[in-house]
């Protein structure tokens, strides 16, 4: 069983999302999924009258995708989260947290107004 998802090349992504937004499709979220050691895919989920439409875009781990936040502002939070969790960067993000949405204090421990603290990333020990 697989969900219905239209494969889209990264170069066509923004145009396709622009078309969907113009047709009244509402962005629900993206899902990022690892395919193998080198590749992953990002699924873009849209809703209109309770029907889901999905786009499937493949990308290398650590690769780059065009941001759709210029078309749908709400995408900025999802794209920043995917960058934090999976290392995919999004070109043209309208609000770019530079990989620090979830770890905002890694390099500048000053966001919390009354305390300073440091977060350290640790590699998982298997």
């Amino acid at each position: 069983m697989a969900i219905e998802a239209t494969p889209i090349a990264p170069a066509r992504l923004v145009a396709e999302v622009t078309r969907l937004a113009a047709e009244g499709w509402r962005l629900v979220t993206f899902s990022s999924v690892e395919i193998d050691a080198e590749n992953m895919e990002v699924l873009y989920h849209f809703d209109k009258d309770l029907v889901l439409k999905n786009l499937r875009v493949q990308v290398k781990k650590g690769g780059t995708l065009p941001s759709v936040s210029g078309v749908i502002f709400a995408a900025f939070l999802i794209e920043n989260e995917i960058r934090d969790q999976f290392g995919v960067t999004f070109e043209g993000l309208v609000l770019d947290y530079q990989g620090k949405l979830l770890n905002d204090c890694v390099q500048t421990p000053a966001t919390s107004p009354f305390c300073r603290y440091q977060v350290t990333r640790k590699e998982e020990v298997r």
Partner: protein
């Protein structure tokens, strides 16, 4: 005029959980708001590769305590769809009953906190007193007040006997009367209206374009509710989304208030349809393939994307929670407000940071 940046959170009296907003103000007017997450991020999605698909039920229940029942139901529905399991009718109706009890206690909790956010302590205490009766129902029927753990793949693990059904009906009659007695206070009281009417307005178009969910979306006039997808036992239950059109804090609180009464009706409809069938179907095999399921949590649409490879561990569990979706609309509501109204507007989306930091 010079701009100042005022930190709102991560610790703030109206925030039960930590989220940070950098509020840019000119004099007392908000110009811009920038959210920061990650103070309590837990990485629960990634546990899917370390816990088998049955153990993941307990994990997803802990994404959020207040809507734990709906997280596990959404997850189980996805696994059931992947494995071709048909859930017995009694189990589907019991899922309706417990999920609507969850919505009821969640909305009562929020209405109380909302009253507290603008200093209406008496209303806050009244609402939480009513909520306790619903918590008693949860505890007596499942063993727990909040994380009820009733869902299993294939159905539910707990049942209701005749005496419990009667007791639930009697208690809900009391709860309904108590909620109705507060209607004029919540909807018409001058103190409430002055703090909520015309404050934090989100237009219908903006709510839709910014991906708002749940009462935040319906308070702006969009009649969308995932219960219209007729999951669990909703295929047999009469249901219409509650909608308000003003798009302000008052509209969002009114949607939740009306949904409290609607949930009581839905619980009754679920109880009416309890038959003598099985509680759970037998489950064979391992989940394989990918599936998307959606349910309506108290805060709005929740989406699960699940991917299995025929092993007992899933490849991916992706959870999109309603509060995550409501943060961009919140950032759009704040500019132009007086700074004193920020706590009320922030609370009006019913922020659940536990969900957001899954």
């Amino acid at each position: 005029m010079a701009r100042s940046v005022i930190p709102f959170g991560p610790q703030h009296p109206v925030l039960p959980e930590p989220i940070h907003l950098s509020i840019v103000v000119e004099d007392e007017k908000v110009v811009e708001a920038l959210p920061t997450l990650g103070y309590v991020h837990r990485g629960l999605e990634m546990l899917a590769t370390k816990r088998d698909y049955n153990q993941m039920i307990q994990i997803v229940e802990r994404v959020c305590g207040i809507c734990s029942m709906l997280h596990s139901m959404c997850y189980c529905q996805g696994i059931e769809e992947m494995m071709g399991v048909e859930v017995p009718r009694r189990a589907r109706m019991l899922r309706v009953v417990w999920s609507e009890l969850h919505r009821l206690h969640s909305h009562l909790l929020w209405l109380g906190l909302f009253a507290d956010s603008f200093g209406f302590e008496a209303l806050f205490m009244q609402l939480w007193k009513i909520r306790e009766k619903v918590m008693d129902l949860n505890e007596a029927t499942t063993g727990n007040r909040v994380i009820v753990s009733v869902n299993v793949v294939g159905g539910v693990r707990a049942d209701l006997d005749e005496s419990q059904v009667r007791w639930i009906r009697d208690t809900l009659a009391d709860v309904e009367a108590a909620i109705k007695s507060l209607r004029s206070t919540i909807m018409n009281d001058s103190t409430v209206c002055r703090r909520t009417r015309g404050v934090g307005v989100l237009s219908r178009q903006a709510a839709y374009d910014l991906g708002a969910a749940g009462p935040t979306l319906r308070g702006s006039g969009v009649a969308q509710d995932m219960r219209q997808l007729k999951y669990a036992g909703f295929d047999e239950i009469a249901f219409e989304p509650v909608v308000e059109t003003d798009g302000d804090c008052w509209a969002r609180s009114t949607v939740r208030f009306r949904e409290c009464l609607q949930s009581i009706d839905l619980v009754r409809q679920g109880l009416d349809r309890l038959d003598g069938g099985e509680l759970a179907a037998k489950v064979k095999g391992k989940p394989e393939g990918e599936v998307i399921t959606r349910v309506e949590q108290p805060r709005g649409e929740c989406l699960y994307y699940l991917k299995g490879n025929g092993d007992k561990f899933l490849d991916r569990v992706r959870i999109r929670t309603p509060t995550f979706a409501n943060i961009p609309p919140l950032a759009a509501m704040l500019p132009g407000l007086d700074f004193a109204n920020v706590p009320v507007v922030v609370l009006s989306i019913d922020p659940c940071i536990s969900c957001t930091e899954r």
